[in-house]
């Protein structure tokens, strides 16, 4: 059946901000969908509040709405665009839930929009755990025994029969939000309480625990002719109990006989049929009892999921692309296999390699968080690697994750290892459990004992034993000969690991390896194990005999990606890399992408001319370049777009004789090295906060005394604001140095003067050596002291004056010149007492590049890539890549105003304080864009959390003394708007003096009153409060604030923790009440800006 002719326009909903459990895999799937639908000649209308996504690039849709993904807003867009159909299965749970809401509130019917790709009943059947279990039973398969509960009473009734431990799982949530194991009654009460809260249908499922069973996933696709294929099987190395998103997983499944696998496949197919997903992809999870093979169906996701992205990258079968085609009427046999071109998509990929995925966690940023891995997903990113055997893939994946500790290493003496301690620790899954397993096995723990402790399949444990055994051989050998070295490399050992074992440096091992002519070959991901020729150069390295890299005739540019998502380095950097690839391909170069993040667009096999799915380590990158140099001319490597990861490789690559395109390693050093950068600033006489390096407490004390408290202290050897703290006194300084960090001559501590009440400003600019293009000036909402990545900001700057912007322009240009930037530069300023301090400069694409590009309708990353290859800003202006005149800091009148807001993961880490600081904690961001600041800010808030702006109800206020002044007007305004104000005594007093009646509420520390007056924490837990305004007080009552904020997170009540934030939120609430928020597409805004610019010329 060919494509439906009745569809002319389709709306695609994205997944919104990057949050734990819903990351850029949905940008990958959504981008694929948009590409396909456009190619099919359909009008594509896209809604996604996340500006960092590729999909929201104007060229991927006909109308791109960067607006909050709420039923109300999406309905407005529907009313305006009148699409024929809505495709909801590619934007994760967010899109699915929004589509369901639009169905139930009648909007889809009103505007007769057809849901394609999944129908409401099917979604219900798949997502509602109760109905799903009925289906599983109907087809004669098994689910875990369970009971659906809507109240805590029902919960306790049910557990009597199921027994402890019991699993609590809410319906209609993603990433296991609100779920967990309860081992006793108290735990059950808390988890089930939160679960009922998390579920949009206040419904939780209590379930018999099957901890320790083998866990599997199948990715299936079905078309309207009822053709079904299983695209990929994934086996979780971490057994049942650890969320698949947090598990180390392998594809294909490795420990099932054909009979067991086919049984699983049969059940999977019957499930997808019975649920009625009639076109598209779905993901089904299974558990298998290792003792007797008993199989249990865990759940299904009737949509493209995180695992489908993984499966697509693992197999080369583009699930989202094909799902989009199926949705508009094609059948699997009508769709050609992209990779072989000749064969159809109606087959099942077969792998002749092994794929391993390793999650990346961020617990170091949330010290108070519970770091045990459970049914509730906690990882913030992942890396994938491929090899020709499991050991090779596993070790590559472990070094792809870019955490030193994750790479297998070997203590000096086996006797140093406390095996029994390790066995006890590994029984509780945490980040790094596999390393405990490896060391324990190495030290002599029996395979059985490790299996008992972890329930990790013995097959995998034996593979780790093999790695250990090779490590011993490498260490023991008196000479590292070719056979031994080859063996080690064949099993994934990095030069650095071998070096560690031999007590030499990695360079020596590399030299020896090259001398012996031992280099990896590059195999191809082709979906068919070489049965047919592959037309797409999608490669991975392996120590094998035959390479498949073919000769090139065009000059090539290597682009280094940003590796696994982590807090501080996420999708924004992938955006820049993809843009570089797109523009350089147009400019006639061949682009070669190296990256290891399966969630991204950059690792889609048709984003670049060639894709190498490889770890971003010096060794792996050098080998790829060597292989490509053998295939044709390689101009050099672009290191400035993938964030800190490639930036850190630049010098070593240059030392190895590889040309670095754009900003040179020397220039990078000039910006990154505190001392060198200090000289740059001095030369340009630009002020920076006074600072000093301390190698002992006394030095630190002296420096602090000299520059004056408060000071900002941080270890000098970490990035991303790690371990940064603001200390207000000498005691606090002592405290910090004790707990937070070690201090010694080897590990000095940076002590900066902390600029109080300073206005922070972020700038992204392009520099070509002579001319600067100021991409945009962002004014932060929160004051300096809150990490740029966590604070909201506006572009154009909401309050900065012409002269200030002029100073920023001059300072930025001076820095660009002084540092010697060729391409992108990001500078952070702090404006304090009319002095413009420079906080730092990053000689690379920054987190805000996509935001700036979209807010000003200028593709900064593309321009940067072209500059790196020698074009000048003048050329780019002439070529129309940059505007003919003007820049992002003097946008023409009538341009829209855009606000970026950060999205924080506190909901995932209960008990963690939500107070923001100099250490970045956000996982993602949203953009609100409109004609005025208030409306744009309101949209940003709504995009970040749908209940961020209550229109009425109770506001609780408790301000630190230093903030009391700035609260008066906004709080007064809230009262005028009809909000009921509650406050703690001190705050209430001040308000009263200004004629604001506030009901005094007891602090938690005051306890329940004589006549049972509840404390504020009780009120919050009882949901009596709609908005919380609470800025951190001095140490004494910090604990009160902490209790308030964590209770707010537990109940999902918006809480504002900064004074400037308050002012903005009140404006936002006014805008929301006024309801005068327009919906315009980026294309419309771009037209407006360009028209205005043209008029100005």
């Amino acid at each position: 059946m060919p494509r439906r002719e009745d569809l002319k326009s389709v709306m695609v909903i994205g997944s919104g901000p990057i949050v734990i459990g819903q990351a850029c895999e949905f940008d990958y799937s959504g981008t694929q969908a948009c590409r396909v639908l456009k190619a099919e000649g359909l009008r594509v209308i896209l809604v996604n509040s996340n500006p960092a996504t590729i999909m929201t690039d104007p060229e991927f849709a006909d109308a791109t709405y960067v607006e909050p993904i709420t039923p109300e807003v999406v309905e407005r867009i529907i009313a305006k665009e009148r699409p024929d159909a809505l495709l909801p299965t590619l934007g994760g749970q967010t899109a699915l839930n929004t589509a369901m809401a639009l169905h139930y509130n009648g909007a889809l019917e009103r505007y007769n929009v057809e849901l394609i790709g999944a129908d409401v009943e099917a979604i219900e059947r798949g997502e509602n755990r109760e109905r799903f279990k009925e289906i599983v039973a109907k087809i004669g398969a098994e689910s875990a025994r369970s009971a659906i509960c809507h109240t805590l009473d029902e919960v306790f009734a049910a557990v009597d029969d199921l027994g402890y431990p019991v699993v609590v799982r809410p319906s209609f949530t993603m990433g296991g939000a609100g779920s967990g194991f309860a081992y006793n009654a108290e735990e059950l009460a808390t988890i089930a309480g939160a679960g009922l809260q998390a579920s949009p249908t206040t419904e939780v499922l209590l379930e018999e625990s099957i901890l320790g069973w083998k866990e599997y996933e199948l990715e299936l696709m079905r078309d309207r002719n009822d053709n079904v294929v299983v695209v990929c099987s994934i086996e979780n190395i971490d057994p049942m109990g650890v969320h698949t998103g947090d598990s180390i997983t392998v594809a294909p499944s490795l420990t099932l006989t054909d009979r067991e696998f086919q049984k699983m496949r049969d059940v999977g197919i019957e499930v997808i049929r019975e649920v009625g997903v009639d076109t598209g992809g779905c993901n089904i999870q299974f558990a298998i009892n290792p003792q007797d093979g008993r199989m249990i169906v865990i759940e299904m996701n009737p949509r493209v999921s995180r695992s489908s992205a993984l499966a697509s990258k693992a197999t080369g079968f583009p699930i989202a692309k094909i799902a989009a085609r199926l949705a508009i009427g094609y059948t699997l046999d009508e769709i050609p296999n992209d990779i072989t071109k000749e064969t159809p998509a109606s087959f099942e990929p077969t792998l002749d390699y092994i794929v391993v995925k390793v999650p990346r966690f961020a617990f170091e940023k949330f010290p108070q968080a519970d770091d045990r891995l459970t049914t509730h997903m906690k990882s913030v990113g992942e890396a994938m690697a491929m090899g020709r055997n499991f050991t090779e893939a596993l070790q590559k994946a472990l070094r792809s994750i870019e955490k030193k500790e994750a790479i297998f290493s070997w203590p000096a003496e086996k006797s140093d290892v406390n095996i029994s301690e390790l066995l006890t620790e590994m029984a509780i899954p945490r980040d790094g459990r596999l390393n405990q397993v490896q060391v324990a096995l190495w030290a002599g723990a029996s395979l059985e004992s490790v299996f008992e402790a972890t329930k990790i399949d013995p097959w995998f444990l034996a593979q780790i034993q093999l790695i250990n055994q090779i490590a011993d051989e490498v260490r023991a050998a008196n000479e590292l000969d070719l056979p031994l070295l080859r063996k080690a490399k064949r099993h994934g050992f990095a030069d650095t690991q071998i070096a560690q074992l031999r007590n030499v440096d990695a360079a020596a091992i590399r030299a020896l390896r090259h001398e012996l002519g031992l280099r990896p070959v590059y195999k191809t991901v082709d979906t068919c194990a070489a049965e047919f020729a592959a037309k797409t150069p999608y490669h991975y390295s392996a120590y094998d005999t035959e390479t498949e890299v073919v000769a090139r005739n065009k000059p090539a540019v290597v682009i280094l990606g940003s590796g696994p998502n982590r807090i501080g380095q996420g999708i924004e950097f992938d955006y820049s890399c993809v843009h570089a690839s797109m523009t350089l391909r147009q400019a006639g170069y061949e682009t070669i992408m190296i990256n290891c993040n399966p969630e991204t667009v950059s690792t889609d096999y048709d984003t670049s001319d060639r894709l190498y799915f490889e770890p971003l380590t010096l060794e792996d990158v050098l080998e790829v370049i060597h292989a490509e140099q053998a295939a044709g001319e390689v101009l050099g490597v672009i290191c400035q777009l993938g964030g800190q990861t490639p930036l850190g490789l630049a010098q070593d690559l240059k030392d190895a004789g590889i040309p670095i395109l754009g900003t040179t390693p020397e220039a990078i050093h000039a910006a990154e090295d505190r001392g060198a950068f200090g000289d740059v600033l001095e030369a340009a006489n630009l002020p920076a906060p006074k600072f000093g390096m301390a190698t002992s407490f006394d030095e630190a004390k002296a420096i602090a005394a000299e520059i004056g408290y408060p000071v900002l202290v941080r270890p000098s050897y970490v990035l991303g604001g790690r371990g940064m703290e603001i200390v207000y006194s000498e005691d606090a300084l002592a405290g910090y140095l004790e707990k937070a960090t070690e201090i010694n001559p080897g590990r000095p501590v940076l002590v900066d003067r902390f600029l109080d009440d300073a206005q922070e400003i972020d700038v992204d600019a392009l520099f070509d050596g002579t001319e600067m293009y100021l991409g945009g000036v962002m004014e932060h909402i929160e004051e300096a002291g809150i990490h740029s990545g966590d604070s909201a900001c506006s572009l154009p700057p909401a309050t900065l004056g012409r002269s200030e912007i002029e100073r920023i322009r001059q300072s930025t240009e001076a820095i660009a010149r002084g540092v010697g930037v060729r391409g992108l530069l990001n500078v952070q300023f702090a404006l304090s007492a009319d002095v413009l301090y420079v906080l730092e400069a990053n000689p690379r694409a920054s987190r805000t590049v996509p935001f700036v590009s979209k807010a000003t309708a200028v593709p900064l990353a593309k321009a940067a890539a072209r500059i790196a290859l020698g074009e000048s800003i003048a050329d780019l202006r002439a070529a129309g890549v940059l505007p003919k005149t003007g820049d992002g800091a003097n946008l023409p009148a009538g341009s829209p105003i855009a606000v970026k807001e950060a999205v924080l993961p506190f909901g995932r880490f209960q008990g963690v304080d939500t107070v923001l600081g100099p250490e970045m904690k956000s996982t993602g961001e949203v953009m609100g864009i409109d004609d005025n600041f208030a409306a744009a800010f309101a949209k940003a808030q709504l995009g970040a959390s749908s209940n961020a702006l209550p229109k009425s109800g109770v506001v609780f206020v408790s301000m630190a003394d230093r903030d009391k002044r700035s609260m008066i007007f906004p709080v007064k305004r809230l009262a005028d708007l009809g909000f009921e104000i509650h406050a703690t005594s001190g705050t209430a007093e001040v308000l009263l003096r200004h004629g604001v009646q506030a009901k005094v509420v007891r602090k938690a520390s005051e306890g329940v009153g004589p006549n049972g007056e509840p404390t504020i924490v009780d009120e919050i837990l009882d949901r009596k409060v709609d908005l919380i305004i609470n800025t951190p007080h001095g140490v004494d009552s910090r604990d009160d604030g902490y209790k308030i904020r964590t209770a707010a997170v537990l109940r999902g009540i918006p809480s504002i923790t900064t004074a400037p934030g308050l002012g903005a939120v009140v404006q936002g609430i006014e805008a929301a009440i006024a309801g005068n928020m327009s919906v315009h597409s980026l294309q419309e805004y771009a037209e407006r800006i360009n028209a205005a610019r043209a008029a100005g010329e």
Binding site: T257, G293, D333, E342, T350, W459
Partner: protein, 372 residues
């Protein structure tokens, strides 16, 4: 364990690896199988007689061997090529390990070779003879080894039925009530086939390939089945004659794999050798009647040469191609319109492989019902 072994192809290409399974020398037709699961079924499938099987999946042997999943009494492959033999056996049903079984069966293998390079080589140059040499044998010079390979028999023109067929008839009783009795001509039959029939109330009499037509029709009261098997269908003249007798008697006829080629020949079509064959469990086959696509298990190096579209006139009336492989348009099934006969080139009994095509056994039952 890690003693050297070498693999020499008839075109002179050489791959070095290590000993695996039995030590010694073996020859056969080199073929690759892309199934990621089911090595035990593959090893014990008589269709692989005289073939050296290269597994494209890197890790083989993980789930060991058990006494249930085998498709016949013994391992039939003449050689086995894998990249990574399993270090341990991990499966609740496992009884022995792959390596033990290969040694016990005296099957010479080789491991740690670049199986993907070998597969690409076969894809580009076509199936060919190969020799595996380990232990003493591996010490000879490559040119010497090549001579040995060139001296070994070819698959083209090989009549292997006699090697694989059962010497005496045996009966697989119907599960539950017996509703039909058929004769299954054993050209190298897999155990799963009679089992699938038995589950449908069929009592299956598996008979030797050299059976006479009279006897065959006598036993095959309700129908006759022609099984899969090794060798060149062009040589299987007796089987062809038997098939023609069944068609003349208008006795319900069902054939699988080799049986499909036999039906093809009985109808007067030719057969030919594919460049490198279909061996795997992920092949898309379209049922021309319903337009539906089945993911199917394949193991064939030869195919029937019949017109893909329209009806062909034969001595037994009109015939259509009922199934085609969507990868390369190879004939995957035949259906007679004027006599009760049909066959498929692939494996509805799966083992190893997906169960999408099990419905074909029901078609056979319907055919027998219709004939009553």
């Amino acid at each position: 364990m890690h003693k050297p072994a070498v693999m020499v192809f008839e075109d002179g290409r050489v791959f070095h690896g290590v000993e695996f399974g039995a030590v010694g020398t073996t020859f056969g037709e080199a073929v690759f199988s892309t199934g990621m699961s089911g090595y035990q079924e593959t090893l014990t499938d008589p269709s692989y007689h005289r073939q050296v099987v290269i597994m494209t999946a890197p890790h083989i042997g993980n789930t060991g061997m058990n006494s249930v999943d085998g498709e016949s009494e013994k391992i039939w492959v003449s050689g086995f090529v894998v990249r990574e033999p399993s270090l341990v056996v991990s499966n609740w049903r496992a009884e022995t390990s792959l390596d033990e079984e290969l040694k016990a069966a005296g099957v010479v293998g080789i491991a740690e070779v670049d199986t993907r390079a070998i597969t690409r080589h076969l894809r580009e140059t076509g199936a060919m003879r190969v020799g595996i040499f380990s232990g003493e044998a591996a010490t000879a010079s490559e040119s010497e080894l090549l001579q040995q390979v060139l001296a070994s028999p070819k698959m083209q023109g090989a009549d292997l039925t006699a090697d694989v067929t059962t010497p005496v008839s045996y009966v697989v009783p119907a599960v539950g009530e017996k509703r039909y009795q058929i004769a299954a001509v054993d050209l190298g039959i897999k155990d799963m086939t009679p089992e699938m029939m038995a589950q449908r109330g069929i009592e299956v009499h598996v008979v030797p390939a050299n059976i006479s037509a009279e006897e065959l029709l006598e036993i095959g009261v309700d129908g006759v089945f022609f099984s899969n098997g090794p060798g060149d269908p062009g040589t299987a003249n007796h089987a062809r004659d038997l098939a023609q007798a069944v068609l003349t008697a208008k006795r319900p006829f069902f054939g699988i794999c080799f049986g499909n080629q036999i039906l093809g020949r009985a109808l007067g079509f030719g057969t030919y050798k594919l460049k490198y064959g279909h061996r795997g469990i992920n092949q898309p086959v379209q049922d021309r009647k319903t337009g539906k696509v089945e993911v199917t298990a394949h193991n064939h190096g030869f195919a029937v040469d019949a017109p893909l579209t329209g009806e062909s006139q034969t001595d037994f009336g009109r015939v259509v191609v009922s199934h085609v492989c969507l990868n390369d348009d190879v004939v995957e099934g035949l259906e007679c319109l004027d006599v009760p006969a049909f066959s498929v080139q692939y494996h509805p009994e799966a083992a190893a492989g997906p169960h999408d095509s099990a419905y074909l056994f029901d078609r056979f039952v319907e055919l027998m019902d219709g004939a009553r």
